[in-house]
């Protein structure tokens, strides 16, 4: 199973800053392994971040996003104690959801 994400949220003057680190190989499908065989493409293709169930950011990615992806954005209206959830799905159908609380 995929490792947990690291989600950091910081609220300031009603604006919530969200920083996410995801553990993923983000294989391009063009790299060869030690035996000279192509390593098949394996990358996060979809990311959704929600605040109290409402989507605050969604993304579609290709394999050009760097390994162990980083994502940062800001949204308005978050309060202390609110839950932020982030879900990623990859091109092989794996997914992972993690959440954190604004403090």
């Amino acid at each position: 199973m995929a490792d947990p994400m690291r989600i950091r949220v910081a609220a300031r003057d009603g604006v919530v800053n969200v920083k996410i680190l995801m553990s993923h190989e983000m294989e391009t499908g063009q790299r060869k392994d030690g035996a000279g065989k192509l390593v098949s493409a394996h990358y996060i293709s979809k990311v959704t971040a929600t605040h109290k169930g409402q989507t605050v950011l969604s993304a579609e990615w290709g394999p050009a996003v760097a390994k162990n992806p980083f994502l940062e954005f800001n949204f308005k209206g978050g309060q202390k104690g609110d839950k932020i959830a982030v879900t990623w799905e990859d091109n092989k159908g794996e997914s992972r959801t993690d959440e954190t609380t604004i403090n």
């Binding site: 499908g29 293709s45 579609e60 390994k67 954005f73």
Partner: protein
């Protein structure tokens, strides 16, 4: 699947394609069919084709879009890029890298209440223009910036 593999193997023939091999990948036709949304655009080979697949025919250059990145990236494997749009009604922000095998790298949908300003990190195979495509109030706009890479996407 088979076809894309053969194509990639063929591409892998010479040492000159090292950067290509290590850079962003080919999306196989199977992946495209299996997925919805903008996935078809991810398979395109040029910035123009990718923009068209996203519905942008001839986006106007806009000074209200800012691509924030260092002009030189020490390593193409991880290139931090932020895109900020000051266009009212920004709905989406899309990042394209001209010289990558598939230019479309990432596309973000910005709901109301979210600042039109996102940061991520991408692989860039060789020095290239990067494009920010922004959809605002139903229309497309773009900005461009050159990023130089001192070490290709797979350097050690």
């Amino acid at each position: 699947m088979k076809q894309s593999r053969r194509r990639a193997l063929k591409a892998g023939g010479g040492a000159g394609v090292l950067a290509l091999l290590c850079a962003a990948g080919v999306v196989s036709p199977g992946d495209v069919l299996a997925q919805s949304g903008n996935q078809a655009a991810f398979a395109m080979k040029t910035v123009r084709e990718a923009m068209r697949a996203l519905g942008a025919q001839a986006p106007a250059v806009s000074a209200a879009i800012q691509i924030k990145a260092s002009e030189i990236a020490e390593n193409g494997a991880v290139v931090p890029i932020s895109i900020e749009s000051k266009l009212p009604g920004t709905e989406s922000i899309t990042l394209l890298i001209e010289k990558n095998p598939n230019p479309l790298a990432a596309s973000f949908t910005i709901p109301a209440g979210t600042e039109p300003n996102v940061s991520t990190r991408v692989k860039i195979g060789e020095s290239s223009d990067v494009y920010a495509l922004v959809k605002a109030e139903g229309k497309f706009y773009m900005a461009k910036k050159e990023i130089k890479i001192t070490l290709g996407g797979c350097g050690g």
